[in-house]
């Protein structure tokens, strides 16, 4: 159930003062110092606080991976499932109780490799789940193997001579699968994440937030802070996110423009 905007406005100050709805849990995240996930955590927490959604009405669903631990670091209800299955579980939660706000979180291995088969289907069913895809192009929790979004030539212990497979582009896939809301974001811009989430939560269907992020421990070459800060930029001034053709063109020609790439007209 969406919180109406006017109620929201009345509540914001009160909420921020009380601290009662601060989504940050008592347990400290286990992520490495400097991990991009802190930025995403902040972006999502700020969104929840500013919308004033009661934490008891939120379920955060995850799979396995560094991002899979997310629910433990949040005071919402959490469902930490097995590797790759956050989206089906989130589907069950949302259909089971449509009043809940449901977030699914997971990394690129969880969402594009083992769980990659679920993305097209939750998109075409347009289940009202908000999916945050933490894309750092590496398997962190298993200590540095190439992921489906690693660029060709990625060298790891598991690929000492460099990878030879082409990377997947999650934003492009989401567009092709017909997701009704697609945003591309950067963990180094929590404010941008919050804004996109606030907009995306309003979408009464499946929303995907493809978030470029870092693995400071196992990726020193590709998605580093320095690179991502340099490469990422805003979408063109005149960009129209309701134009699917334009969205495809944009994503095909530019890998690093950030913002709401597509939202289906209501």
């Amino acid at each position: 159930m969406k919180t109406p905007a006017r109620v929201l406005a009345d509540q914001v100050n009160q909420i921020q003062k009380s601290g009662r709805f601060s989504p940050r849990s008592a347990s400290l995240p286990t992520w490495c110092p400097g991990c991009g996930y802190f930025g995403i955590h902040q972006g999502l927490n700020d969104c929840i606080s500013s919308l004033g959604i009661p934490l008891t009405q939120i379920v955060t669903v995850s799979g396995i991976g560094c991002a899979g631990r997310y629910p433990f670091f949040s005071k919402t209800y959490g469902l930490h499932t097995v590797h790759g299955r956050a989206l089906p579980a989130a589907t069950g939660v949302k259909l089971g109780n449509p009043n809940l706000t449901v977030f699914a979180v997971g990394g690129d291995g969880d969402g594009l490799a083992i769980g990659g088969g679920h993305l097209p289907h939750i998109a075409r069913r347009n289940i009202d789940v908000n999916y945050l895809l933490f894309d750092n192009s590496i398997y962190g929790l298993t200590k540095g193997q190439p992921s489906p979004s690693s660029p060709m030539g990625t060298k790891t212990k598991a690929s000492p001579y460099g990878t030879i497979d082409k990377p997947l582009n999650a934003t492009l896939m989401a567009l092709a699968y017909g997701a009704s809301f697609v945003a591309r974001l950067f963990a180094g811009d929590p404010k941008g994440i919050t804004e996109a989430l606030i907009e995306g939560i309003r979408n009464p269907g499946f929303s995907i937030f493809h978030i470029y992020t870092t693995c400071v421990t196992f990726d020193k070459n590709f998605k580093t802070w320095a690179h991502l800060k340099k490469w990422t930029h805003a979408l063109p001034q005149d960009y129209d996110p309701t134009d699917l053709g334009r969205a495809f063109n944009e994503v095909l020609k530019d890998d690093f423009s950030l913002g709401v790439i597509f939202k289906r007209d209501a």
Binding site: T56, P71, L95, G96
Partner: protein, 590 residues
């Protein structure tokens, strides 16, 4: 009083109206007060290319197993029916189309392969149907007319069920179909006036209006609806698909929804998700799909989330024999998946139990917060029985959820280690009970914790909970109970009907034999089963699998070895096979 135990088969090609004809026989005989058990088999291939066979066993006493020998064969396609002749009883009645559209070479004819004692009744099915209705489509009904006339079935029984079947299509269709039936009936009455049998006309039966003709699949679907199912997640797989189709039709009118998922993994994932959110949901699958589900099933065990999974077993391993029956998923259901992941497994033995067990599975899942697996099989799901099926009364399907006490608000421990092992479960939306359910080993609070003490403690808690669940699980039922048995036969699932019939017949032969029906597969009532085994000189476990999967599970309960009877024919175990094994064992005893 004369008794009857008569098996009739209808065989044809897909499109001949074979299944419809078999269904009408079942309905008519059920309506006539007979006990009926029917089972259809049809090709794994797509419609239009295969052989369809219906088998109906009709009795004046209660029928609990499939007929072994066919007393009447109704052939709607002679070339297909040739395969049915090995199971014909002596002097069986064979009904066939005596005026086929084209001449038939001997090597394709049914009559050329009949046993010498077969009694043939040639009826021009097609021509009579054309005469009665203008089209040959009703030839299955003309065939039924011939069958009814020769075997002495009250034609009004058939006329009634034909009317019921076609009434939705209007009076004209009803009329045409009744006329087709009558054409066959009159023809046979006249043509075979000197060869009419009064097989059914001599039997006095009472029509019990409470009895309905129902398949295992329908009973499962009805039970799910009566249990207030809101969501069904599934993926097409033989033989579980009819459950999804049934619910797809009837669930929306109850405010529910069927979601056809992208695979079995997502199906069980969504079931867990919705139960986590407090909503009853289920999935049904068969072996290959079940195998895909096992990781998430153990997630349900670890994270203590309810789920209801129906495994309609078929022949395996791998893709195996999709349209054949087997009981070979027991090991997978009880043990499948990573770790010490004990979960509840129950197995109904007949259509009526399918209904009650499915309703109970939701309650067990809720109370014990663990996946509950209902093991059925192709034979049980697809067979039809006429049984007095009483639908659940108000409250009988009530939720067994165990919610936390308000006192624990704000310091709630999701996985609290209670004496029973049951930790009261909060649902999202409850204020002050927020928690994260996880498949990682965790503390009572729910935080990941891999310490040796914690894993030992929490493993013990989960298994204690399962042991505690025994009190809500149906005890094994003993038939022909006695203090000492020469042979004690333990049966489960769809095989139990054959066990019961075999034991009953052996007892009529004067042997000291008893039967134990085990429906709670895991956890199981080791004391009851062990006592039954102890008082039996020999213990026999007949199963439709190679490995003796139930036998393996319970063998340790008694010091003497268990005798096994394992069938991997893809077809139900015939009672006679069990009976001869019993009597073979008795021979050994003597």
């Amino acid at each position: 009083m004369p008794e009857v135990d008569f098996t009739v088969e209808v065989c044809g090609m897909a499109g001949d109206g074979t299944i419809a004809a078999g269904g009408l026989i079942n309905e008519a005989m059920s309506h006539g007060g007979f006990s009926v058990l029917g089972f259809d088999s049809y090709p794994a291939e797509i419609r239009g290319f295969g052989r369809c066979v219906t088998n109906s066993r009709i009795g004046s006493n209660e029928i609990v197993a499939l007929g072994e020998k066919t007393h009447a064969l109704i052939s709607l396609n002679d070339e297909q029916s040739r395969s049915r002749t090995p199971s014909l009883a002596e002097h069986s009645l064979v009904f066939f189309d005596s005026n086929p559209p084209a001449y038939v070479p001997e090597d394709n004819s049914l009559l050329s392969v009949l046993p010498p004692g077969a009694q043939v009744f040639g009826i021009p099915f097609g021509a009579l149907a054309v005469g009665a209705s203008g089209a040959s489509r009703g030839r299955n009904l003309t065939a039924l007319g011939g069958f009814a006339a020769v075997t002495g079935v009250d034609p009004n029984l058939f006329r009634k069920v034909i009317r019921d079947k076609f009434k939705a299509k209007g009076d004209r269709v009803v009329d045409i179909n009744v006329k087709s039936f009558d054409a066959g009936y009159e023809y046979a009455l006249e043509k075979f006036s000197d060869r009419l049998k009064s097989i059914f006309s001599k039997i006095e039966t009472d029509h019990d209006p409470k009895k309905v003709m129902l398949s295992g699949n329908q009973a499962i679907g009805m039970a799910a609806i009566d249990a207030g199912l809101k969501l069904y997640f599934g993926y097409p797989i033989t033989p579980a698909t009819p459950i999804m189709e049934y619910l797809a039709k009837y669930l929306p009118e109850r405010g529910g929804r069927v979601v056809q998922m992208e695979d079995e993994i997502s199906s069980i994932g969504a079931v867990l998700g919705s139960f986590y959110a407090g909503t009853r949901s289920m999935t049904a699958t068969s072996g290959p799909g079940f195998a895909l589900m096992t990781e998430l099933i153990t997630h349900g065990v670890m994270a203590e989330i309810p789920a209801v999974i129906l495994d309609a077993q078929r022949g395996g391993p791998a893709t195996g024999l999709p349209t054949k029956t087997e009981q070979s998923d027991l090991h997978a259901a009880v043990f499948g998946g990573p770790g010490d992941s004990a979960r509840i497994v129950i197995a109904p033995t007949d259509v009526e139990e399918c209904y009650h067990f499915v309703i109970r599975s939701f309650q067990l899942a809720e109370k014990y917060q663990t996946p509950v697996i209902v093991l059925t099989d192709f034979f049980l799901d697809n067979r039809v029985e006429n049984r007095p099926l009483i639908r659940a009364m108000e409250g009988q399907a009530a939720s067994w959820n165990v919610f936390p006490d308000e006192a624990f608000k704000d310091h709630y421990q999701r996985y609290a280690d209670t004496p029973s092992g049951i930790s009261p479960r909060a649902l999202p939306g409850m204020e002050g009970f927020n928690f994260t359910a996880t498949g990682l080993e965790h503390t009572e609070k729910g935080s990941p914790d891999y310490s040796p003490e914690n894993h030992a403690k929490m493993s013990e808690k989960r298994h204690r909970k399962l042991r505690y669940a025994l009190k809500d699980l149906e005890k094994p039922a003993e038939f022909f109970a006695s203090d000492h048995l020469d042979v004690g036969v333990i049966g489960w699932g769809s095989t139990f009907g054959s066990v019961l019939e075999a034991v009953e017949k052996s007892r009529k032969n004067g042997f000291k034999v008893g039967a134990l029906k085990v429906t709670s597969i895991f956890p199981y009532h080791s004391e009851t089963i062990g006592a039954f085994m102890a008082k039996s000189k020999r213990v026999l476990v007949p199963e439709l699998n190679y490995e003796g999967q139930l036998a393996n599970l319970i063998a340790h309960l008694d010091s003497k070895p268990v005798d096994r009877l394992n069938f991997v024919t893809g077809t139900p175990i015939p009672p006679s096979a069990i009976q001869s094994r019993i009597e073979e064992l008795l021979g050994v005893l003597a």
